[in-house]
Symmetry: C2
Subunit: 315 residues, 2 copies
């Protein structure tokens, strides 16, 4: 086991202009580990309630996901309901029932403390730190967060950022965290909050792709203004049905690829971003996890190849 993710496992009720799902398996750790499972065998640390279905447990196992760290607690599984706007660009939370998540204490099994690749999905920064301090010798630590923690737990977030190598956030979060509209300016401020010389920031821009910016590769050819930058457009899609989990699937593809290849060079981080983007692109094509759970490795390979064709140019 070399990749560990801590995050949420939830039952999502989602409404988009193209479909509706009630109590479908969701949560950041779910999307992350499903996406990562195409590259490596991830281990998941999360909590579920007494209502968690055996079928959903089996789904994880069928994908080679280690759920020995999936705690069972008295009560109900975390449940979330949301509705998307016509163009899928904004969503409204209809309800958020923390349930068993409210008292979640992530206690790692001995095997999980040996993880080399660790991803702290979007949960309270204090919980993220509790997990991280239990890991003996992490090789690469990734983190996701959200506006809610930027606003409500800024000090705890600042603390954990000092321990993170790869921060994965979206553009509005990068702007809110720094009060800078320009993403390059925001990126410089965020990288300054992370470990000097060892930090990489990935700013997700939804359908527009991502910017990866790093202080960790000062000698790279791509370096500019002391930041090394990679700019990847979004994979163009004709049918986008449900954006839920796209960001977590991206992170799962990213870290799954890194754990599989065991290589954190700049060139390989770029490839990992491509793998992550492709996993996000599949995720949104059907409601919930429906596309991910039926995906094949061949489809992934084909789309990665196609992505390269779509974006490469000589100059």
């Amino acid at each position: 086991m070399s990749l560990l993710v801590v995050g949420s496992v939830a039952y999502d009720s989602i409404k988009t202009p193209f479909g509706e799902e009630k109590r479908a398996l969701g949560g950041s750790a779910t999307y992350f580990s499903l996406a990562a499972s195409f590259f490596t065998a991830p281990a998941l640390v999360a909590v579920v309630g007494e209502d968690f279905l055996a079928d959903d447990e089996k789904l994880f196992s069928d994908h080679g996901i280690d759920i020995s760290g999936l705690q069972r607690a008295a009560g109900k599984t975390f449940a979330w309901g949301g509705e998307y706007s016509f163009d899928l660009n904004s969503r409204t939370s209809l309800f958020t029932e923390l349930n068993v998540f409210e008292n979640f204490k992530p206690i790692l099994l001995p095997a999980h403390k040996e993880a080399e690749y660790v991803f702290l999905a979007n949960i309270h920064p204090s919980l993220q730190k509790e997990v991280l301090t239990q890991i003996k010798k992490p090789r690469l630590v990734g983190l996701d967060t959200m506006n809610y923690w930027i606003e409500n737990a800024p000090h705890e977030l600042a603390e954990i950022l000092k321990l993170v190598n790869v921060l994965v956030i979206n553009d509005s979060e990068a702007r809110e965290l720094t009060k800078e509209h320009n993403l390059l300016k925001a990126a410089k401020k965020i990288l300054a909050m992370m470990p000097a010389e060892e930090s990489t920031l990935i700013i997700k821009r939804g359908e527009y792709g991502l910017l990866m910016l790093s202080q960790a590769f000062p000698k790279s050819e791509d370096s500019k203004d002391n930041m090394t930058i990679f700019n990847l457009p979004g994979y163009p899609l004709e049918d986008v049905v449900d954006p839920t989990g796209a960001g977590d699937s991206f992170a799962g593809g990213l870290f799954g690829y890194l754990a599989q290849t065991h290589n954190i060079s700049w060139e390989n981080l770029k490839k990992a971003c491509v793998a992550g983007s492709i996993m996000g692109s599949f995720c949104v094509e059907k409601m919930g996890t429906k596309r991910l759970v039926n995906l094949t490795r061949d489809e992934i390979e084909e789309r990665i190849k196609n992505f390269k064709k779509l974006t490469h140019f000589e100059a």
Copy 2:
């Protein structure tokens, strides 16, 4: 003379959060030809009034732009005033004084009728057609338009689209023209309005780059769903001061590069998009045309090289 542009030459009064200009040289043909002048010697067809300054005329000549087609008319030069929002993503027109532009009749000089590369910048579709019918044997015809013509001259626009090889519009225009939110779906509908097997559509997405989609290269390796696609992110910039003219500078770089290299293969169209994007990226760094008029060929080459580094990956 192989590249001809017809469009507007104007005096722009621009206010952005970062600066203000009054009666600065602007207009679609101005930005287009300045950007194109770094690659080839374009000819400009437009109209100005009695107030047009000798210094501005000299500026064109100093950049090797053929202004023998710049008509003089009694009255004032077209004047436009606009103000941008804080994030530069939206702008309000403060005034639009058509002046001499109102009665503009583009009559081409004999030399200009021989043009091989023709760009019909954003003016009334009927005027665009009047120009195009005077060209004897165009090799490649490009066109820009805007929401105003989509709403107010849809039939004339549909007519000219049947004669255009390269349509350059932005994402909101593509959506409005087709009533399709998804850009791939919109692109299919737009390409169907253009000459079969000979049409390419470039959808500009502002800071997010562009999508180029074509029916003209069915045998290309990049082909997918009968469309050949190229996806280029925006060049990341730290200082964006004034977006005015970015789209016209893109088109000028695109067609300037194509006219210079005299090659309309798919691979070369991609390179031309890169050249165009780079010209747009320079344009927005200073108010009005200030960055373009002082640009050097070396700066362009360096940024193109850097753009490749920023975007390429192995997979």
